[in-house]
C-alpha cells in the first residue's frame, strides 16, 4: 500500500507542477537556511573534549575587589602571586597554568626569513590532562618543570614546516634567540573551541605551533599575548610586573569526583580567606570553579551572530511550513471530487488520511533533496557570512545529510496533518451530488 500511495503522491506532484515546485522550494530553502546556520552553530557550541569536560576545572580568584572586578565576577585569569600559590598548594591530581606566547623561529637555509610561531607556556601535566596525542616522543615531567628545563613540544604541522615531518625528538630549536631540546611532537590536536585559552581572545584561533615549560617561559621573560590590570600600573621591570595586579595566567585542574570538586572549592575559599586575613584582599572570598562547559558558557564562546542567524533561519523555516500548510490545503481540497469518489467506493477516512500524509512526505523528500543541494552550496559559501576562523569549522557530514532529509520530511508530514485531516473529512455524498 505504501508503495502505491507513494506512486500516487509522485503522480499528484506532476499534476500541479507550479504548486508543487512552490512547496518544494519553500521547504528546500527553509531547511537549507536552518542547516547552514546549524552547521556553524554546531561547530561553535560543541563540547571540545567530551570525555573529560566534566573533570577539568578552571579556578578563579577575585584579586581586584568589588570596586574593580567584572561586575561582581572575578577576573578571567590569575595574577602571578595567586597562580603560583595554587601550583604550590597542589590540591588537584593534575594541574597546570598556561598563557599564550608569540616567538620567532629562523628556519634552516641561508637566505630564509624568520617566521612567527604561536605557542603556549604550560606545565608538564597539560599533556595528560587534556589528552594531547603524540606522534613522536612525549611531554615533560614535573621534574623538568621544577628545574625549568629548556624543552619544547612541537605540533605536527609545525614539525612538518620545520623538519619536513621527520622525527625531530632530541634535536634543538631556537625560539626568540633561546635554544630548546625537542621532547615530543603532537599529532594534529586543535580542540574547537579552544576552551583552555579564552583569556582576552575568542575560542577560534590559528593553529598552535609549540608548547614550552611555563617556568622556562618566565625565565626568558616571554611576554603573554595579553594581560589585564587594575589600579596604578607603576611597576618597573619584569619582577615588578609579576607582583602587580595584572592577570594573565589561566589555571586548570583535574578533579575526578564530586568530593574532590567540593574539596577544591573549599580550598579556594580558604585561600581567599587567608589572603583577606593577611591584608592582601580587603574583601570577602570571591572564588569560582567552573568546568569546561560552564566556562565556555560563561565566556560566551558562541558568537551572538551564530545564535541570531540560527534563530532567524528557524523562524524562516517556520514561515515556509505555514506556507506549505496553506498550499497543501489548496492542493488536497482541489481534489475533493476525487476523494468523494474514493470514499464512495469504500475507502476509509484513515486510508485517505494515510494517502495524503504519504503524498506530503514525497513533497518533503523532494524539498529535502533540494535543501541538501542548497546546503552544500551554502556551506561552501559560508566564508562570506562568518569569520574565517569560524566558517572553516562548518562542514557537511553524514549526520547533517541525514538530519536535512529527516527534518524536511518530518516537518512536511507535520505540516500536512491539518490539510490531510480536512481531506479525509470530505463528505462523499455532497461531492457526488454536485457532479
Amino acid at each position: 500500500m505504501f508503495a502505491y500511495y507513494f506512486e500516487l503522491g509522485l503522480r499528484s506532484l506532476r499534476r500541479n507542477p507550479a504548486l508543487t515546485a512552490l512547496m518544494v522550494m519553500a521547504i528546500g530553502f527553509g531547511v537549507a537556511a536552518s542547516m547552514i546556520t546549524y552547521s556553524v552553530f554546531r561547530a561553535v557550541s560543541g563540547n571540545p573534549i567530551p570525555e573529560k569536560s566534566a573533570q577539568l576545572f578552571t579556578p578563579q580568584i577575585d584579586s581586584w575587589g568589588p570596586q574593580q572586578n567584572l561586575k561582581g565576577e572575578p577576573a578571567d585569569a590569575l595574577n602571578y602571586i595567586d597562580a603560583m600559590a595554587l601550583m604550590r598548594a597542589h590540591r588537584a591530581r593534575r594541574q597546570t597554568l598556561l598563557y599564550g606566547v608569540g616567538m620567532s623561529v629562523l628556519p634552516s637555509g641561508n637566505d630564509s626569513l624568520p617566521v612567527a610561531a604561536n605557542g603556549y607556556a604550560v606545565y608538564g601535566d597539560f599533556f595528560p590532562m587534556f589528552e594531547v596525542p603524540f606522534l613522536y616522543g612525549g611531554g615533560w615531567n614535573t621534574a623538568d618543570d621544577d628545574r625549568r628545563a629548556a624543552v619544547v613540544v612541537l605540533s605536527e604541522e609545525f614539525n612538518q614546516k620545520l623538519f619536513d615531518g621527520a622525527n625531530s625528538v632530541g634535536r634543538e630549536i631556537t625560539l626568540d634567540g633561546h635554544d630548546y631540546r625537542i621532547a615530543g611532537v603532537t599529532r594534529h590536536w586543535d580542540p574547537q573551541p579552544r576552551f583552555f585559552s579564552l583569556f582576552n581572545t575568542s575560542g577560534f584561533k590559528d593553529a598552535t605551533d609549540f608548547y614550552l615549560p611555563f617556568t622556562r617561559a618566565l625565565d626568558v621573560q616571554a611576554n603573554p599575548g595579553s594581560n589585564s590590570c587594575r589600579g596604578h600600573m607603576d611597576f618597573s621591570g619584569w619582577d615588578g610586573w609579576l607582583r602587580s595586579s595584572c592577570v594573565w595566567a589561566t589555571p586548570w585542574v583535574e578533579l575526578d569526583s564530586a568530593v574532590e570538586v567540593a574539596r577544591y572549592g573549599k580550598f579556594l575559599e580558604d585561600y581567599a580567606t587567608d589572603q583577606q586575613r593577611a591584608g592582601r584582599f580587603a574583601w570577602a572570598p570571591n572564588v569560582r570553579l567552573r568546568n569546561v562547559m560552564q566556562w565556555l558558557d560563561y565566556q560566551h564562546v558562541v558568537p551572538p551572530e551564530s545564535r541570531i542567524s540560527l534563530l532567524v533561519s528557524l523562524g524562516f523555516f517556520a514561515i515556509c511550513l505555514v506556507n506549505t500548510i496553506g498550499l497543501l490545503l489548496a492542493k488536497f481540497l482541489r481534489r475533493a471530487g476525487e476523494i468523494g469518489i474514493r470514499r464512495a467506493l469504500g475507502a476509509s477516512r484513515r486510508e485517505i488520511y494515510t494517502q495524503y500524509l504519504i503524498e506530503a512526505a514525497t513533497v518533503g523528500l523532494a524539498g529535502g533533496v533540494l535543501g541538501l543541494l542548497l546546503t552544500t552550496v551554502g556551506i561552501s559559501g559560508v566564508g562570506l557570512l562568518f569569520q574565517p576562523q569560524i566558517a572553516r569549522l562548518a562542514h557537511l557530514d553524514f549526520s547533517l545529510v541525514a538530519l536535512t532529509l529527516a527534518v524536511a520530511i518530518l516537518a512536511t508530514v507535520v505540516a500536512a496533518f491539518y490539510p490531510a485531516w480536512r481531506a479525509a473529512r470530505v463528505q462523499p455524498a455532497w461531492q457526488l451530488k454536485s457532479n
Binding site: 504548486l19 512552490l22 522550494m25 519553500a26 530553502f29 537556511a33 570596586q67 574593580q68 608569540g102 620567532s104 626569513l113 624568520p114 617566521v115 612567527a116 626568540d176 634567540g177 633561546h178 582576552n200 621573560q221 611576554n223 595579553s226 590590570c229 587594575r230 596604578h232 600600573m233 607603576d234 611597576f235 618597573s236 621591570g237 619584569w238 610586573w241 558568537p303 551572538p304 551572530e305 545564535r307 541570531i308 542567524s309 532567524v312 533561519s313 523562524g315 524562516f316 514561515i319 515556509c320 505555514v322 506556507n323 500548510i325 496553506g326 498550499l327 490545503l329 489548496a330 492542493k331 481540497l333 482541489r334 562570506l384 557570512l385 562568518f386 569569520q387 574565517p388 454536485s434 457532479n435
Partner: protein
C-alpha cells in the same frame, strides 16, 4: 466596495484566511528585525575612523631573535628614517596599534590620583611627533608633541608621559565644560599627564560591543615602544599607496632582515576594514538573503492560495458577472479580500516584531527597534499582498458570465 459580503465569505474559508494572515504576521516580524539588524550592522561598518584611510598602510613588525632595548630603539629610529625618505611616503610613525586593530591597549582614565573607579576608558596610542601628520587627524586645539617629548618604553616598564593628546570625545567626557586643554589626567597611575592638544576624531583600536560606551575616546602618548614588536603606520603621498606597499617592506628588510612582517595584521585600510567587520558584513548579507527569499515565498504562497480560491469560486464569480458585476468589481473583490487579511496579519505581526526585538535586546544587547522599520515592513507586506493577489484576481475578473450556467 462592500466589506460585509467579503467578511462573510472569509468566514467560510477560515483555515486559508488564518494561514495567510499568520504567514504575513510572521514574515513581518522577521523582516522588520532583519532589516533593523542590517541597518545596525551597516551603520557600525560605516563609522568613520577620523584618519586618512585612503593613503594609510600599517605594517605589523615583530623582532626576531634577542636584542637589548637600546638596540631595538636604534633600529626603530633607523627604520623610520628610511621609511620617511621613500619617494612614495609622506610620513611614518611607530605605534602600538591602529584604529580597528580589533584588540590592543586601553587604559582606565581618572581625574584624580586617588580615584579607584574609572572615569572612563581610553584607547592608548603611542607614537612620535610624526603621528598626527601620519594619521592625518585634525588638531583642533593646543599643539602637537615635539621631538624632545618622545620617550622610550621598554618591556614591562610603565612610563607615564607628562604630556598627552586626547580626542574631542575623550576631552568632552572628562571635562564636559570644554576646559580640557591644560588639565591633568591620570591613566592608571599617580603621575599626571597634561592635555596639550585635542584632535577632532580618532577611532579606538577595538570596536566590539563592550567599547561602545567609550566610542572615539582615544589618547596619544609621545612614546616609542621597544618591546617584542610594534606597528609602523605609513602615510603614502596621494595616489601612491600601491607604490608604498611595495617599497615599505623592501626598505625595512634592507635595514635588517631579522624581523617578521605579519601579512594577516595591518595592511591597507580596505584590508583592515574587511577583517574587523567580517562578522557584521556576513550578518548583513545573511539577513538580506533571508528577507528576500522570505518575501518571495510569502508572495508565492499568497498567489497559490488565492488561485485556489479563484478556482473554487468560478461558478459564484460567473453568477455575479451574469448579475451585472463588472470585471473591475471582481478584481476589487479579491484585492479587498487580501487587504483585509493582510491588515489582520500586520497587526499581529507588529506585536510579534516588537516582542522579538525586546527579547533580542535582553539576550543579545540589541538596540530598540525604531518604529520606522515596523512601518516600512507593514507597507512592504501590504504592497506585496496586493501585488501577489493581482495575477489571480485578474484571472478571476476574466471569468465569463457563461460559467454560471455550467454544472461545475
Amino acid at each position: 466596495m462592500q466589506i460585509k459580503p467579503i467578511l462573510a465569505a472569509l468566514r467560510r474559508h477560515k483555515a486559508g484566511t488564518v494561514l495567510i494572515a499568520l504567514q504575513i504576521a510572521l514574515t513581518l516580524a522577521i523582516v522588520c528585525n532583519a532589516l533593523f539588524i542590517i541597518q545596525q550592522r551597516l551603520a557600525h561598518m560605516s563609522e568613520p575612523t577620523g584618519i586618512d584611510e585612503a593613503n594609510l598602510l600599517v605594517i605589523s613588525n615583530q623582532w626576531a631573535g634577542h636584542r637589548s632595548p637600546q638596540e631595538v630603539d636604534a633600529q626603530i629610529q633607523a627604520d623610520l628614517a628610511a621609511l620617511r625618505q621613500l619617494p612614495s611616503v609622506r610620513d611614518a610613525s611607530p605605534s602600538d596599534g591602529y584604529p580597528l586593530t580589533g584588540g590592543g591597549w586601553d587604559n582606565y582614565v581618572m581625574l584624580t590620583p586617588e580615584q579607584i573607579e574609572k572615569t572612563t576608558d581610553a584607547s592608548v596610542y603611542m607614537g612620535d611627533e610624526h603621528m598626527l601628520d601620519t594619521l592625518g587627524v585634525k588638531l583642533i586645539a593646543g599643539r602637537n608633541f615635539n621631538a624632545s617629548e618622545v620617550m622610550q618604553m621598554t618591556s614591562r616598564q610603565v612610563v607615564i608621559p607628562p604630556v598627552v593628546i586626547v580626542t574631542k570625545a575623550l576631552a568632552d567626557h572628562l571635562f564636559p565644560d570644554g576646559s580640557a586643554l591644560g588639565k591633568p589626567i591620570y591613566s592608571m597611575s599617580s603621575t599626571p599627564s597634561t592635555i596639550i592638544g585635542i584632535i577632532e576624531r580618532l577611532q579606538r583600536q577595538d570596536v566590539k560591543t563592550w567599547s561602545k560606551p567609550y566610542a572615539y575616546e582615544s589618547l596619544l602618548w609621545p612614546m616609542r615602544e621597544d618591546t617584542d614588536g610594534l606597528y609602523y603606520i605609513v602615510r603614502a603621498k596621494p595616489g601612491q599607496l600601491a607604490a608604498a606597499m611595495r617599497a615599505v617592506p623592501q626598505a625595512l628588510y634592507a635595514q635588517n632582515r631579522m624581523r617578521i612582517i605579519d601579512p594577516k595584521d595591518g595592511g591597507t585600510y580596505a584590508q583592515i576594514r574587511e577583517r574587523i567587520y567580517d562578522s557584521d558584513r556576513g550578518m548583513a548579507i545573511l539577513m538580506c538573503i533571508i528577507s528576500a527569499v522570505l518575501l518571495a515565498i510569502t508572495a508565492a504562497g499568497i498567489v497559490g492560495l488565492t488561485s485556489f480560491w479563484v478556482g473554487q469560486r468560478r461558478k459564484q464569480i460567473g453568477v455575479r458577472r451574469a448579475l451585472g458585476a463588472r470585471r473591475g468589481d471582481i478584481l476589487n473583490y479579491f484585492l479587498t479580500e487580501n487587504f483585509l487579511i493582510s491588515v489582520g496579519g500586520v497587526m499581529v505581526g507588529t506585536v510579534l516584531a516588537v516582542g522579538i526585538n525586546l527579547w533580542m535586546m535582553a539576550r543579545f544587547e540589541m538596540a530598540r527597534l525604531s518604529l520606522a522599520y515596523v512601518i516600512d515592513g507593514v507597507i512592504i507586506l501590504l504592497l506585496l499582498g496586493q501585488l501577489a493577489t493581482l495575477a489571480p484576481a485578474l484571472r478571476a475578473s476574466r471569468v465569463s458570465p457563461v460559467e454560471a450556467t455550467r454544472s461545475t
